[in-house]
């Protein structure tokens, strides 16, 4: 199996979730190691990349960070379509954001790529005193729905790298003859995808 050079596995990843839950902050922490108390609201969407070594391979995340407000919903499909992974973010100090996260999960199950790795991130884990969503509740929900679950804090960096690492581990292994390049911006995959865990 030895190959020449580094084996980058590109993986399109999208962040979804209620406004102000910290989607941009999570990305910024992961990609640049930065955190701002007052991160400018995201209008439209923003794009980032980051590589992460997992075992012998290196995953290259191509990340779309989206605007969270419900009104921007109509722009979201274009970013989650064909995505290999999604992080659905809620704010542990805000119950409504957890409700909204569940809606996103349902939508991804219905309209997203069926092999998509979906992670649920309970962000702002540093706000323990204002906690409204118990980790057990979210954990149970995640288990029932086959999601990865982690509590994270973009502020303290708790769980952030672990989150992306876990996602990278669960990404489908690269097919040696046909690398997953296609996934990146494949619009036609809507109809094409079948439940092919082991294609070819």
């Amino acid at each position: 199996m030895a190959t020449t050079g580094i084996n980058y596995i590109p993986a399109k990843l999208v962040l979804l979730g209620e406004m102000g839950t910290g989607k941009s902050s999570l990305v910024l922490r992961f990609v640049k190691g930065q955190f701002f108390d007052y991160q400018e609201s995201t209008i439209g969407a923003a794009f980032f990349t980051q590589t992460l070594a997992v075992n012998e391979t290196t995953a290259k995340f191509e990340i779309w960070d989206t605007a969270g407000q419900e009104r921007y919903h109509s722009l979201a499909p274009m970013y989650y379509r064909g995505a290999a992974a999604a992080i659905v973010v809620y704010d542990i100090s805000n119950t409504d954001s957890f409700t909204r996260a569940k809606k996103w999960v349902e939508e991804l199950r219905q309209h997203g790529n069926p092999n998509m790795v979906i992670a649920l991130a309970g962000n702002k884990a540093d706000l323990v005193d204002n906690k409204q969503v118990e980790a057990e509740v979210a954990q149970t929900y995640a288990q029932d729905n086959g999601l990865l679950f982690l509590e994270t804090s973009a502020k303290t960096a708790q769980g952030v790298n672990e989150l992306f690492l876990e996602i990278a581990r669960r990404l489908p292994k690269a097919n040696p003859t046909q690398p997953s390049r296609m996934i990146v911006v494949d619009r036609s995959s809507e109809r094409l995808v079948s439940t092919s865990y082991y294609c070819c």
Partner: protein, 368 residues
């Protein structure tokens, strides 16, 4: 004009402690900042004289408190257009914006309404607004202080609007419009200017940018894509190959009229023209940016391309370079045709002029 080079660092701000130096417009200086640094530092004396000369001309043109304005525009519309395109003197900007947008008339016709909206009404959007307040121009001294005067004004204007038009409510992005206006005028003036824009006092109403489904965003992006294909065929082709869609880079151009993540001096100059000539300047500036960078952009693969479309080089963002290029691009006629075609394709649903309600009537009358 360029006081900041020498003065601001020693300046002791009054009640709000600001440990870091700010630029001429009040933004905290950063490494990769969106301030005017580098764009206006040459020949400060000549610039200052030129600005003062222009301000004198402008004062003559608008009269005391704007009393001669309407008369002047009617007599010499082309002179006005030309002067606006050169940039409205910063000291008169707030007043002139209110005159050219039609908001001054709205304010006069609706005395007391704003106060009513702010004090007595409640809005379903209040929580959303609060969540975004400290995330709107977070690097500007006026909006930085938690619960300070800037944040309070911003909240009031946005809340008032969300009550005034409950169909729109509050939508992320509107804060940047309101924030920009608040740097140049009072809360009440900023509110009515927002009304003038969204309800279409002078130009096509903007509210479709913020209504459910963002119909006008979809329409403008589709038109923009078409214009890129027609006017910059090489780049249009390249975008297609790399599967770049304008909503990946241009949606915030339209939603916030370049107030989001663009250098402030450029945003101001665009707004001068935007308020007088309407949304076509957004198309023109967008096309000018792409044209200016076309030779670079056509070489880039997807990832680098997306980045380049977000972070344009400094020289491309210099208003005195970009705007003349934008003015030279003709879009009006094509835009009209494309609007009609788009309307037909989408069953007229997305026509901005369709969604008017009673409140628009108020606005319409004010034109006379």
């Amino acid at each position: 004009m360029d006081r900041k080079r020498t003065g601001v660092d020693d300046f002791e701000p009054g009640p709000i402690p600001s440990p870091r130096p700010v630029d001429r417009f009040g933004f905290v200086k950063q490494d990769q900042n969106n301030s005017s640094e580098g764009l206006t530092k040459s020949k400060p004396l000549i610039d200052k004289e030129r600005e003062e000369r222009r301000a004198r001309k402008w004062r003559k043109m608008i009269g005391i408190g704007g009393s001669d304005w309407k008369h002047y525009v009617r007599r010499k519309p082309l002179v006005v257009k030309r002067r606006i395109r050169k940039g409205i003197p910063d000291c008169l900007r707030g007043l002139v914006w209110q005159l050219i947008s039609g908001s001054r008339d709205l304010l006069l016709m609706n005395a007391g309404v704003y106060e009513q909206l702010v004090i007595y009404e409640t809005s379903a959007s209040e929580l959303d607004i609060i969540r975004d307040i400290s995330r709107t121009f977070p690097s500007h001294v006026f909006f930085q202080q938690r619960h300070g005067p800037g944040q309070r004004s911003l909240y009031n204007v946005l809340k008032a609007y969300s009550v005034y038009d409950r169909n729109v409510g509050y939508v992320q992005g509107m804060g940047f419009l309101a924030g920009l206006l608040l740097l140049y005028m009072s809360e009440e003036d900023a509110f009515w200017l927002l009304v003038a824009l969204l309800k279409g006092a002078v130009h096509a109403p903007m509210e479709g940018l913020y209504l459910v489904g963002l119909p006008l965003v979809q329409q403008y992006l589709s038109q923009f894509e078409q214009l890129v294909k027609e006017q910059l065929p090489k780049l249009g082709q390249h975008f297609m190959q790399e599967m770049i869609n304008p909503s990946m880079y241009a949606s915030q151009w339209f939603i916030t009229v370049f107030t989001y993540s663009f250098p402030f001096p450029l945003a101001l100059r665009i707004w001068d023209v935007f308020l007088f000539e309407g949304v076509k300047i957004v198309f023109k500036v967008g096309l000018a940016l792409l044209r200016y960078c076309e030779n670079e952009l056509v070489k880039l693969p997807f990832e680098k391309l997306i980045n380049a479309l977000r972070y344009f080089p400094q020289d491309a963002l210099n208003p005195d370079v970009l705007l003349p290029l934008a003015y030279s691009i003709k879009v009006s006629k094509r835009l009209e045709v494309l609007t009609i075609e788009y309307g037909k394709r989408n069953g007229e649903l997305s026509q901005p002029t369709e969604s008017r309600n009673e409140q628009v009537e108020v606005t319409k009358q004010s034109r006379k």
